[in-house]
Symmetry: C2
Subunit: 405 residues, 2 copies
Amino acid sequence: MKKKINWSGRSHNYSNQDIKTIVNCIKFSDPLTQGKYLKLFESKLRNYLGRKNVFATSSATSSLELIAQLSNLKKNDEVIVPAHTYCSSAYPFAKNGAKLIWGDINLKTRTLCPLDTKKKISKKTRAIIVVHLNGFAADLLPFKKLIKNKKILLIEDCSQAFGSELRNRKAGTLGDFGCYSFHAQKNLTTLGEGGAIYIKDSSLAKKLPGLRHNGHSGFGKRKFYWKPAMVNVKEDLKYKWPNKFTLSEVQCAAGSVMIKKIDKMNNERIKRAKYFIKKLNKLSENLIFNSNFENKRNVYHLLPALVNPNGTIDRDSLIKKLSFKFGIQCVTQYYPLYKYDLFKKKGFAKHKCPNTDYYFDNMISFPFHLWMSMHDLDYIIASIKKIFQEIDDKKSNRIKTKKTN
Amino acid sequence: MKKKINWSGRSHNYSNQDIKTIVNCIKFSDPLTQGKYLKLFESKLRNYLGRKNVFATSSATSSLELIAQLSNLKKNDEVIVPAHTYCSSAYPFAKNGAKLIWGDINLKTRTLCPLDTKKKISKKTRAIIVVHLNGFAADLLPFKKLIKNKKILLIEDCSQAFGSELRNRKAGTLGDFGCYSFHAQKNLTTLGEGGAIYIKDSSLAKKLPGLRHNGHSGFGKRKFYWKPAMVNVKEDLKYKWPNKFTLSEVQCAAGSVMIKKIDKMNNERIKRAKYFIKKLNKLSENLIFNSNFENKRNVYHLLPALVNPNGTIDRDSLIKKLSFKFGIQCVTQYYPLYKYDLFKKKGFAKHKCPNTDYYFDNMISFPFHLWMSMHDLDYIIASIKKIFQEIDDKKSNRIKTKKTN
């Protein structure tokens, strides 16, 4: 059958008013990068997150590379990172010399399991990466307890969780470093690519502008504006060279208009996710969402569920039926990182993450975007219900037939 | 006095028709990154440059990092790079393990001097970076002779020279690797940030998509679209991790419309530069441009001149007069890289580049952008003439006075 609903897609549209601001920047902004729109976007980010050391970058991956660089990782330093996440949560640390230790997830939250992490902490552990996956703010308190009096950094990957909260504090601002993504599919996108970084330590934060922009930081006062030339290109980190991870003015303009709407957009997502989950409440033994946690603001970047392998239908059959019978494209995420060709070949095949394997083998991710009409959302819900109903009907028919015989 | 003409500024504007295309992409493109506009821009780049292995990247610096990674540099490998260039021409190679050897420039071309390079080639030399600075296509033949039968890579940095030509072939496509910049101030800008890379070796070129995008390359054929998941994240280089150097759809849309106009825009630059130089012809003993070379298309990204230190006025006095008397902001470029805090602290202070020092100490870079009106250009020319005329008048007055006395 013809596909009706794609899984992937842009997360939000831009209004005519937003586009007017963006076009204004395209037409008149001078310079077109590293100017007043960057300052504006960063001030809005700082205000929104309630932290001063927040900077715009070219992507969350760039932010994670910057974090890895600022973490001053030494050879054989270990970094614990969940195996159930996108590859960018992990590889920047290995790229900067760390040994990756795969952390398992908690099956309810689908985020890093503190109990498993505790077992994996060693004398060589230098950092723990907590990924607020799917928009769900993982609890940091257990991790803070684990690293107390230890020289271990707590790093929050909020690529999918801009606007998520934990006890009324923004995810990504509670550890030593945080990062955000404004990529095409994220809850807020700066025209397809973009990111941000939070740095707790103010002396490290001072190094960010240079580290992000080929070593460039501001000039001090100069008697003559043209000399000395280029004395603003400095060594920010003794042990690292700089990067080119800058966000353009046009991207910053888009970010500045969209950040005003992020709470509203996230509220709409939350409303829709709750509606979806509630409508499928009767199937809660079969489809297990991570919905009920107190003191949390889960911004539902994605809407995945665990398909109970002892339930009515197995995961692959459900995906097949939804796709081939109803034209709804669902996917499976995330392939455990230790199974990637990339990580295996680089020596990170070793793992002990039963929950990660179990969850990946039995999970389904439904299409879930703001561009989707309520009609489509209802169609997905109705299709799921129909699949389960048909199986139940067949079963009771078989029982009836048996009884009549 | 109030400043009238800034040195820096955006290199070109976007027409209403260009903006219509860009807005169409902002409104309807799905995905907003790595989609059909990337394919379109890359096909236009390939067509324009006459080479198939051309890819869009997030910046020229990113391209240079990718080149450094693909070059498989070993510890103690030496890379010869001109000291008279922007820092990004050099640091990606040091970041990837190379020892930087500072090459001197030829005073006429202001690009890497083949004679000096010959002296600096050693058994450890792994690459030579020729920077087509200011838009001027450096001759590659002498370098090709130097590296003949040697395992030395020839790398062209065309950050300032998109559209430059040498004997009717595009700069950047004649060596083993080339890179281009579409940064805010470049002759063509993809909305403030952007770049491209050319890779001669087709087997290395195959690694580029993954290396540029977190290891992602295309899926092969899969029976079921959702599995196996993420098998497209591969190890492209045994000795390197991937990067996130992607250009968004909106940036690619801008690139695709502007590339149609680049020859016209460059022709206008060439016309203006030649006009400027011709009008100052009488001062050619004082202001020495690099204008007269056969078989070259110099796209004049910048318009610098050597101020003869034995001439009418010294460089700093000229800048001061232009700035404080006429409101014209000129600058000096490029501070020799071995003098940067960044390179000195990383162990690359050693140098033997008398021409680089001499040129930097005596050069001036005039404001030169397409947004500048012909009226402004004429004002700069007239102001320069006036400065020289006044000095000459004073001199002849002194002589007259002496004679009368």
